[in-house]
Subunit: 256 residues, 2 copies
DNA sequence: CGACTAGTTGAGGCCAGTCAATGTTGGTGG
DNA sequence: CCACCAACATTGACTGGCCTCAACTAGTCG
């Protein structure tokens, strides 16, 4: 299994040279997608799977830095990450901005728009990426016929809530070193689930973005990376991180 | 309209003297509930409303301090707050605890259990309270027949996500005084929506619980209340808060 | 009345923020 | 291919906001 930082051939830019966002009318099929066991159709039988297949109308390709959607845009679809990774950022009225989430293969994003019909967050590709478009009206429609899909949709919404709760816990009660340790361990686990190395991966975010996500300043993040490196917990080579002592990282938390 | 801190006759303990949690088999009716325009049946026509009415199987009464559910308990229902208020607290593996939410009339709680079938939070009554029990299997079932209800359910889930995002923003990027100002303004607005005074209300949480919710220590919360009082922004009499200068509070945020 | 919980206030310390200088990397065009 | 530039990252010195520890007050309940 290749380390996560090797170039992924499916993101090869040559296949999609010019348009910032291209729409491919190729039929896509959940039933043959490698992410089907992590994504919306997880656990669905033949019937449900077929219906989900009719749902995915198109894909969108994004180049690094492209916005999948911006705060204020009208919401009409959820998106499943097929290739690459994205960040979502919350924007306050006063201009304050914060990275709310970091999303990778199989994640469902866009739920921030469901509450009032327009997106409360922006979502930006951290590398060349591709998402499946799931028109929401249609999704609700299908969910009414397919209890399994309905259940999955609820699960994904609920998981987002649970995930947010743990971020709140992190932001509200942890010290800087604990936050970074949690962040790294969490990433490691998510890469593992997706079949990538859990001990060596590339951070797709800058120090500033990581800091924003963790409620820290970029200098603090940088200093902590250096310190963790000195202490033998991890190895840092720019954005390439190697976990050397997972237990040690976990113990940072155990100590209250 | 009575200030929120006057005793509410519907919470009169005499009606329910002994059992810590009593189950009343009286039929309840959303269609006549005063909270119907804020709660799950919001906007539903006659048909949808009738179906929701069949959903609410029972109510549960809680005395101050009683747990509606605890972390780890199996999830099988959502709850609608009918009377009183509750807090939900997230619990980390290492014992860390944080107040994740403060819930009042018309709020739907319990969604923290949907992700994996057991509650990730605990929910505790902050005063004598009463909730409607919404068995989740049945709710999903009805939602399949009633698109309006399905939509509402999704909205409530999504609103929870949006709410969590703004808490994340608060915890991740605001200073102590800003956090408290946001907290007070938010409470004020929620009381207003429910027909209570938006300028005078009773905090149902201790300084410690407020601090936990805002990622602050109780001493900091106490000091800030005193300072806001000195500065003429609010008047503090124990847990009774009177907003004196809403604009002033809002300006605390505007200044970056 | 004493024990207990909740709240207030003060003094001092520390963690992370701020400001600033310098180093490193990656993409671009000559 | 290399030089250049801009974005990203590192590191140091200093500051300040919030936490910690502690003492004291007020209200409540047996």
């Amino acid at each position: 299994m290749p380390p996560a930082y090797l170039p992924d051939p499916t993101t090869d830019r040559a296949a999609n040279s010019h348009p910032v966002v291209s729409v491919r009318d190729l039929r896509t099929h959940c039933s043959t997608c490698t992410m089907r066991e992590l994504c919306l159709p997880v656990g669905l039988g033949g019937g449900g799977m077929m219906q989900v297949d009719t749902l995915v109308g198109q894909r969108r390709r994004l180049r690094k830095g492209d916005a999948l959607y911006r705060a204020g845009e009208t919401f009409d679809a959820l998106f499943a990450v097929r290739v690459g990774s994205l960040k979502t950022t919350v924007l306050a009225e006063d201009g304050r901005e914060q990275v709310a989430g970091y999303h990778m293969l199989g994640d469902i994003i866009g739920m921030d728009g469901m509450a009032n019909g327009e997106h409360g967050c922006a979502s930006v590709a951290l590398e060349d990426s591709e998402v499946c478009v799931l028109p929401f009206d249609r999704l609700e429609e299908i969910a009414r016929d397919a209890p399994g899909l309905q259940r999955n949709l609820h699960q994904f919404l609920a998981r987002e809530i649970t995930r947010d709760h743990s971020v709140m816990l992190l932001l509200g009660s942890m010290r800087a070193e604990e936050r970074l340790a949690v962040f790294l361990l969490n990433l490691s686990e998510r890469y593992r689930k997706r079949g990538y190395s859990s001990t060596e991966f590339v951070l797709r975010m800058t120090r500033e973005e990581i800091g924003s996500h963790l409620g820290l300043k970029l200098e603090t993040v940088s200093r902590l990376f250096s310190r963790f490196d000195e202490e033998g917990l991890i190895e840092v080579h720019g954005r390439v991180i190697k976990l050397r002592d997972r237990i040690g990282l976990q113990q940072l938390l155990a100590a209250n």
